[in-house]
């Protein structure tokens, strides 16, 4: 059994490219070229150079001494929060902008929920002098004003998605519509391991730098490349895909994917997609998604805008189905408390998305000799307003 993608673009039974014919040429062009381009030495060089000098990689693997003492195990934090723009998202957008250039595209579109991917996309477009249009739900625009301002500072045009629930799912619909209308000059930078093949694989490969670095960094620190556990939160799944990537086939390394339980898995206000979802098609991919009995996609809920997505990438659907990864669901309240705890014990304010993965210590006990690597996917600056209100600071 393999846990990675097969030559047809599927992880087990999940994946594929369930796209309208209008998108076929674009997606096919990408499918035929992405591996070839990524293998070109000049691409690799440009990608590595930007990750190093622009993004600030390698991101540290930090031994969290006080957290480790508190939970009586060895906790390492992979510091994606220190990347330029403040999250793992930029690893992918740097890769995709180089890909878009090599495909001769001149116009970039993207969707965004919390705005992190939108900012990361606007950033690389500014860097390359490319036109950038970001679709964002009208409601998210209102509640993520600082990230909207960042995108505008960076020269991007932010277009409100006015349909549906006016959040991430609808922004994605709008971006796809734009792509259908602009089939020749435009590249769509998807922000997670979702969408039609080859997006999930391409994004996972760009994010794989995370586990590549964990391997040699852990070797330096612990004499082994293998942690006992790798833990990551899952919205679409890209930071988890990156953190898991080089460990996928090595079942000695246990994987924990943490989803947002919102107000409780069974509360009706949740985003615990794997647990609550059923097989279906969303945004071009066969995967697990939250939907009505009748096949209408439902609106999820989480306090964290970045986990507030009704689907999950096909890799994660497969990891769930096969049991390769353990899936945990963490509520808003537990996540917020874990975010505060990390702030006070390690001086790191995490994104609320990330805070979900830090909350697992409340529910899971580790052995003193276990090495638990948590992917610290982003910093909490964007979430301050939320923290302030929640804790009445």
């Amino acid at each position: 059994m393999t846990y990675n993608i097969n030559e047809k673009g599927y992880y087990g039974e999940f994946g594929g490219a369930y796209i309208p014919e209008m998108l076929y040429p674009n997606v096919e062009e990408l499918r035929l070229n992405y591996l070839k381009i990524m293998a070109e030495p000049s691409f690799k060089e440009a990608f590595d150079q930007l990750l190093k000098d622009y993004v600030g990689r390698p991101s540290p693997l930090y031994f969290a001494k006080r957290m480790s003492a508190k939970y009586k195990t060895k906790i390492y934090l992979k510091r994606e929060d220190l990347n330029h723009t403040g999250a793992h998202k930029i690893n992918n957008t740097v890769g995709q902008i180089l890909m878009a250039q090599r495909l001769g595209k001149t116009r970039i579109i993207a969707e965004t929920g919390a705005g992190q991917h939108g900012v990361a996309t606007a950033t690389v477009c500014a860097l390359m002098g490319m036109e950038c249009i970001v679709y964002m739900g009208e409601i998210d625009i209102a509640r993520q004003a600082p990230n909207v301002a960042r995108m505008k500072m960076l020269g991007a045009k932010v277009v409100p998605a006015l349909s549906g629930s006016r959040t991430l799912k609808d922004a994605t619909n709008e971006a796809i519509r734009d792509w259908i209308n602009n089939p020749v000059d435009t590249h769509y930078i998807i922000g997670s391991v979702v969408g039609p093949h080859p997006y999930p694989d391409m994004v996972a490969r760009f994010q794989a730098i995370v586990s590549e670095e964990i391997q040699w960094q852990l070797k330096e620190k612990e004499g082994t490349e293998k942690p006992t556990y790798v833990v990551a939160c899952v919205g679409g799944g890209s930071n988890a895909a990156g953190a898991f990537y080089h460990y996928l086939e090595d079942t000695d390394v246990k994987l924990i994917a943490v989803e947002a339980a919102g107000k409780g898995v069974d509360s009706g206000e949740s985003a615990a997609t794997s647990i609550l979802g059923k097989e279906g098609i969303i945004h071009g991919s066969k995967t697990l998604l939250m939907q009505t009995k009748d096949g209408q996609i439902t609106e999820p809920y989480s306090i964290s805008a970045g986990l507030d997505y009704p689907g999950v990438g096909p890799m994660h659907a497969h990891l769930y189905k096969t049991g390769r990864a353990e899936f945990m669901a963490i509520t808003d309240d537990d996540a917020m408390l874990a975010g505060l705890e990390l702030s006070k014990t390690e001086g790191i304010i995490p994104a609320i998305e990330t805070a979900h993965s830090l909350a697992i210590f409340k529910y899971k006990t580790f052995k003193p000799e276990d090495i638990v690597v948590i992917n610290l996917s982003g910093r909490g600056d964007k979430d301050l307003q939320n923290y302030i209100e929640y804790f009445d600071l």
Binding site: Y18, M22, S163, G164, K169, D170, I281, D294, I297
Partner: protein, 254 residues
Amino acid sequence: MNRINEKLNKDGKLLSIYFSAGYPNLSDTASIIQDLEKNGVDMIEIGLPFSDPLADGPTIQASSTAALKNGMTSDVLFNQLKDIRKTVSIPLIIMGYFNPMLQYGVEAFCAKCKEVGVDGLIIPDLPVDVYDEQYKSVFKKHGLINVFLITPQTSKERIDYIDSISEGFIYMVSSASVTGSGDGFGDAQTAYFKRISDLNLKHPQIVGFGIKDEHSFKQATTHAKGAIIGSAFIKHLTSHGTEKISDFVENIKA
């Protein structure tokens, strides 16, 4: 012989109309179909509404959303159509996204289509190759024709492939754009219609996307067997309700 093929075999240009089932009111579906046939429409695409219709423009999306709010579901639709063949004889095609069909069960969905007298399906996000490998036999078993799309960007090779597995008509997207945009057809589009016509494919083409009046209907059908009107008809329903369907159809066929 499937009603779609019968219709395609006849002389003359075909006018096909799309609307969202359950719009403007939940129970309008059957009467709209009846009215459309009465007024001389040749074929109907019944839209099965979906929460996230990513290949549709704002007009169809809005009618989909309204229909869902009205309570439309696959079951409700089949129920509304259960006696449709007592009054209607033109080809009926369900057009919808794949996920609701998948949840219904593709086999069960096809069986129901056959039972109520639906002749074919258009599923924008079911790719040709997936259909070919996994679902063709089910569709055949229930005598359903699956209709595929081509666009100005579709390669000759792929058109041939699509032609080879098609059984009814080829849905020729007028331009690579979501439904409801554009304003009459320009040179590039009419050249494209002619280019496809000149390929002499096995299956006739019906143009969709961007047809809204007599003029664009004529343009579209100069080189194609027929044309499908969606957004323009839905706008008409939104403005005039279900009373004046005859006005709309007469205007096109004038």
